[in-house]
């Protein structure tokens, strides 16, 4: 089974996000970079599929050279090889532009299944997987919290509001991963894994090598742009319910405040 994982490198979820002076981007200087957690779940799910069905796991990403570290981490977890589309003409692409690049890279690899995170924890676009599937003309199943394959089909379980759905797709298909660390328990890279990863193939590509013109996937093709960033609304400092109240007194005062002041209960 030939498996491709689409991977994005994102700032660590414990990062403090500061708006840069251009008011359109965030200060990147001191950020710690990680594999987007949902993509890390995809790497884990891909490695389990490989364990069961054999085959290969290829990591595909687009972005600058810093992404090499994220791809090497996935290779150390057990993926076989990687492709990084690092091309300055893609700077300022929107989600659809990025999806076109990824779809073109996937097309060259001709996999049976493509896995990726349902969203990235940086810009929360939640578009990549469904777009790549549409561009490839493939079925896709979104937000998997469990995944199995017979070799010719893939089956997932996905939560929806107030319930869960089991879905199946014929291969080739794309699956986006939901859930959490507790669901997927992504493996850590072992020391031998890290040593081996250094020697695994990682190919650099330009958009043109995938037959893509920047006018189709670069910033000129972007349909949507971020014009400005706002910090979240400041929360007015609240009050600690204390006084000389005992536990019951505090409970009474809190209920009164929520009912009479906040009017939320």
């Amino acid at each position: 089974m030939r498996i491709v994982v689409l991977l994005k490198q994102t700032p660590d979820t414990e990062s403090v996000v500061r708006i840069a002076s251009d008011n359109k981007s965030i200060v990147a200087g001191d950020l710690k970079w990680i594999i987007n957690p949902y993509d890390e779940f995809a790497v884990e799910a891909a490695l389990r599929l490989k364990q069961e069905h054999g085959g290969t796991v290829t990591i595909v990403s687009w972005g600058p050279q810093r992404v090499v570290e994220a791809i090497r981490t996935a290779l150390a977890m057990g993926a076989d090889d990687g492709v990084l589309i690092d091309d300055p003409v893609l700077e300022g692409s929107d989600s659809l532009g990025g999806a076109k690049v990824l779809a073109a890279a996937v097309e060259e690899l001709k996999p049976d299944v493509v896995l990726c995170g349902s969203r990235a924890v940086d810009y929360d676009e939640a578009q990549r997987g469904a777009m790549v599937a549409e561009l490839l003309g493939w079925p896709h199943l979104a937000l998997a919290v469990a995944l199995h394959s017979t070799g010719s089909t893939v089956t997932i379980e996905r939560p929806i509001e107030g319930g869960k759905v089991v879905m199946e797709a014929d291969l080739p298909a794309l699956v986006t991963l939901g859930g959490s660390h507790a669901v997927w328990k992504p493996r850590y890279a072992s020391l031998p894994g890290i040593m081996k990863a250094k020697k695994k193939p990682l190919v650099m590509k330009k958009a043109a090598e995938l037959g893509l013109d920047a006018s189709r996937c670069g910033p000129a093709a972007a349909r949507i742009r971020i014009m400005s960033l706002d910090p979240p609304p400041e929360r007015v400092p609240g009050r600690i319910i204390d006084g000389d109240l005992d536990t019951a007194g505090k409970a009474r005062e809190l209920v009164r405040a929520l009912h009479e002041e906040a009017r939320v209960i």
């Binding site: 996000v17 989600s95 810009y123 079925p139 919290v145 319930g163 979240p232 409970a251």
Partner: protein, 329 residues
Amino acid sequence: MAKCVCVIAEFHNGSFRRASFEVASEGRRIADALGTSLCAVALGAGVAGKASDLGRYGVEKIYVADDSALESYVAETHVLAAAEIVKKCDPSVVLLPASVNGKDLAARLAARLDAGLAQDCTRIRCENALIKAKRPIFAGKCFAWCEWAEGEMPIISCRPNTMDCITPGGEKKAEVEKVDIALPEARSRVKSIDMDTSGKVELTEAEIIVSGGRGMKGPENFSMLEDLAGALGAAVGASRAAVDAGWRPHSDQVGQTGKVVNPNLYIAVGISGAIQHLAGMGSSKFIVAVNKDSEAPIFSKADYGIVEDLFKFIPAFTEEARKLKSTCS
């Protein structure tokens, strides 16, 4: 007249989701600002008989694809039907609910129509006939204002519970047009649907959430939070620490990896307030923090703080909440 505004409603289990009415209401406001009409797309099996429900929220024309193949959400089938109708009504902007299925459909639709999409928007502005949309990024650590160039067709999914529903009117009758779309057999399908019938409130739709963290000390103690939630009509959530420890199901996780919630009231119990948790609940209208550590970062976000042993405080709080409910009802 300018091109119409188009909303794609979500039909589920025989009725439209409430988020569809919020989106229709927002669509009405945008159509008024643009001086144009509002149309809606209704996809589903048996949706034709319910389509007029949308008319009460200011929709003037409803395109209905009533087909057994659209009974349950399958991305490739729904996107085909939605795209055909959107092309037919040629709108200036398309709105959908940012529900689980709505967001998925929006992304596939944007690729199919080569359009720019903004997901999970919390505000839409119309300036000089151009649409701008505000959306949280980094799970709410920051907000981005997005714009589309003139002549583009923005697709916008709207976060449930952030846009006001207009008071439904009864008298206006919308025009309903049935659309027949040839839907080829899909290469993906629903095998089973298992709806929770316990009456549990979904986190992303809850008006009140009671969440527990590491301070709960073990899974057995969450029954205390369930009691409190029962008294308040709330849903129960959890921090990543509690979910990683295996105390609660992953579907309860609130945070940057997990669900982003915006209830009227969020009660954080035994949660210190890691930045990844604060990102997921920081837009709640009111926040209550219960923690015995007065230095916990959660207190900097809380409207009301209680520095107490939660094991003593929560039962007392539950009792007071029950008293209030019994005097109110």
